[in-house]
Structures are given as C-alpha cells and as structure tokens.
Symmetry: C2
Subunit: 199 residues, 2 copies
DNA sequence: GCCATCCTGAAATAAGGATTCCAAGATACT
DNA sequence: AGTATCTTGGAATCCTTATTTCAGGATGGC
C-alpha cells in the first residue's frame, strides 16, 4: 500500500537536536534544517509537523538521550561524593572540549530564550530540573550513609545547590569559561560539603 | 544650524533594554522597537546604527545601570555574610516578582543565545562575570576578617561558587522557579560557608 | 501488472525581517 | 527672514522566513 520513508527519522532528529542545541530555536531556520538533514521540506513537515513541534521533539530527545543517562548514572552510583565529583568532571569535560564545546546544555539554553513561553517546553525544563535534583539527592544520601558528609550538611538543600551550580557551569561554559576554573569551583563546592574534598 | 533630537536617547535605550531583556535579540524585531519606543525607523538607525549595535548598546546599559550598582553595593557592604545574604535576597525578589518577574538576567540570557558569538558581546559577559565574582570576593574577605567563615573556607573559591550560583538562580527563575525554594537553596549554600547560617 | 497510498522534489505563497531613501518639517545661527 | 543642517515620517527595497501545494515517482499488497 503506502510507500515507506526514505530516511531515518531518528537520525534526522539527532541532526536537528544539534542544530537547535547550538543555535537555539529563534536563530535556526527551517532552511538550516533542510540543508543539514539533506531531506526535503515536505518530508520534514509530514513527519514532524511545524517548527515548534520539531523543536519540542528535539528537546525531548535531548532530555532522554543526553540528560537522563547522566542523571541515571549519578543516581545509581553507590560511591557517594566521588560519584558527584565525577558527574561534574564529565559535565565540564563535555561542555568545554570536544564536539560540543561551548554549546552549553540545550535545556539550560532553553531557559533563557523565548522557547520557554510554550507550556509544554516549560514542562520539559521542570522535569529536567526535578530529575537532576533527585539524582543529586540520591547520590548525597548515599554519601551520607557512608559518613562522607560534613556534620550538619543537609542532602536535600545540598542537592538543590549542586543542581543550580550545574546550570551555572552550563551557562558560563557556553561563553567560553575556562574548564580549569570551573573544576576548581566545583571542587570547592564539594569540599564545603564533605569531610574531605572528593577526587 | 542643526535641528535637535525630538526624543530622549537615554529613555529610548531603556525601553530597548526591556525589549531585548525579555525577548532576546533574535526574537525582537526592529518593528517591535519602533512600536515600543514610538519613534521612527530613521531616527533609530541614525542614532544607534543597526540592530546589532542597538543590542550591544542595550546590553552595556543593562550592565552599567542594573548589574554594576548591585555589585558595588555588595562589595562595599561591610557586614560580611549578611551582605551576601541580602544580595541574593534582592536578586531572587527581583527575578521572581514585580515588573521583571521571569525575565531572568539580560546578561545571563545572553550567555545562552547566539548573541554571544559577537566578541564584543562576549567581552561584556566576561566583564559581568569578573565583576560579580570580585564583589562576592570582597564581601567574603570582609566576612573572613570578622570570623564569620567556617574554618578552612576559602573566600576565592567560595566567590566563584556563589557567582555561578547566581547564574543558576537567574536561569531557573526565568522558567518560573519558586522564590521560596530558591531562597532555601541560597540559605543552604551560605550556611555551608559560615559558622552559622546568615539571615 | 495494477492501483491506492504514501513519499519526494521544487516551486509558489504570504508574511515578516532589516535596512535605505527621499521629500517634508523643524531648528538655530547669521 | 534666510538658509544650511539636521530630524522625521512613511514608503520602498530586497532578502529571508515558515508553510503549503502539487505533479510526478516509488512502494507494496492484490
């Protein structure tokens, strides 16, 4: 009966993610998407709908494919503070060097743009924040069980703090902040939480 | 000889600041500026140049009129930790309620957009960060002199941390984060620095 | 091999973007 | 008052935008 798709929607969406991630939604035209994906306008609209829906699909994909795996790894790491330390080390590495250097975080970027006026987008932002905070909280509770936290340190409040700190890292790295100084800042934050600074 | 301007460039620029602050540069058209300021395209271009120059002038004005006064007040406050605490209280208040609620910080927003690809813009972002950090540092050194800091707390590293935390507050508040939870997070951060949580 | 069904390509549409131009009006010095 | 100089309003320019349309090509069950 019908013809089948002549392209891979998933690979296409991944290309679109990178476009919106780097340039934001307002500065990315459909023409950019057409050029980057190599497929046709008609196929784009037929598969994903308009620009707004395309952006939303890309944002969701970023959350699921990029953010959540990191959150899961953090939450399930049983080492406590070293897990948190490693999370930030990986974050800073990814933000400051390699293919995605100075791209920031697509979700963090979405906070600052007009994207966030769409309620569905805002839901994704809130979900991202909630999941980041809870992963951090899980790691800190694990740390507390292993007596890695300074007396009086509250895992809940500390999770909030470290989550916000991650947004700061994402933002500043997009403007070219130095990886070394970001690492030092994170180390200081973790040092103030733990009985001893975590490697 | 010449005619004089029939409008106040300074008041106009303030209007433009609010446009770019709220919507970003990519989503704000010259038509929006014309409508909001009430003046004519010709006058706009003759006075400020094109859109990019207009945005840059607005960004500088934001830094000078909005950010730097806050930084100065923080740096010159002799109370130590209560000065830092009050800085964040005012920040959260301004970001979450009143005229500019959910607008975020124009400089923080610029980090996430394509604005930051302009080297001149990036210089402003760096200057903003440097001045924020140094104001924070000055307040923390004052706090240290008054024995308000926990033993082993480093004012330099803590200044870095609190500066990044401010970006996190700016970002999350733009997406509608709750003022109360932001306050709690900041309180926890300051509590981990001081011998006792500052009011 | 047929045909309904979908995909594809490229052009067409309609709206909006930034920027420029020019004639008309206002100014302040001589 | 005259005039050179600037400002102003509004139209005009040219480019880019998102979205739609449609004719033709490919597909797979019958």
């Amino acid at each position: 009966m019908p013809d089948i798709k002549h392209f891979d929607p998933d690979a296409t969406l991944e290309t679109v993610v990178r476009l919106f991630w780097r340039q934001g939604v307002a500065s990315t035209g459909i023409q950019d998407v057409v050029t980057a994906t190599g497929l046709n306008r008609s196929s784009l609209y037929a598969t994903f709908g308009g620009k707004q829906e395309l952006y939303f699909a890309a944002l969701r994909r970023y959350l699921e494919q990029r953010s959540q795996p990191m959150f899961r790894r953090l939450a399930e790491d049983e080492r406590g503070l070293p897990a948190v330390s490693e999370f930030f080390a990986g974050l800073i590495e990814a933000r400051c060097s390699g293919e995605y250097a100075q791209w920031g975080c697509m979700v963090s970027n979405a906070h600052a743009g007009v994207e966030n006026s769409d309620p569905k987008v805002r839901d994704v932002l809130d979900q991202h924040h909630r999941e980041l905070r809870e992963a951090m909280y899980a790691a800190l509770v694990t740390a507390e069980r292993q007596d890695q936290l300074a007396p009086g340190a509250d895992p809940g409040a500390s999770a909030d703090l470290l989550a916000l700190l991650a947004y700061g890292v994402n933002l500043r790295s997009r403007a070219g902040a130095d990886a070394a100084s970001l690492r030092k800042t994170v180390a200081a934050a973790l040092g103030s939480l733990g009985v001893r600074a975590a490697a």
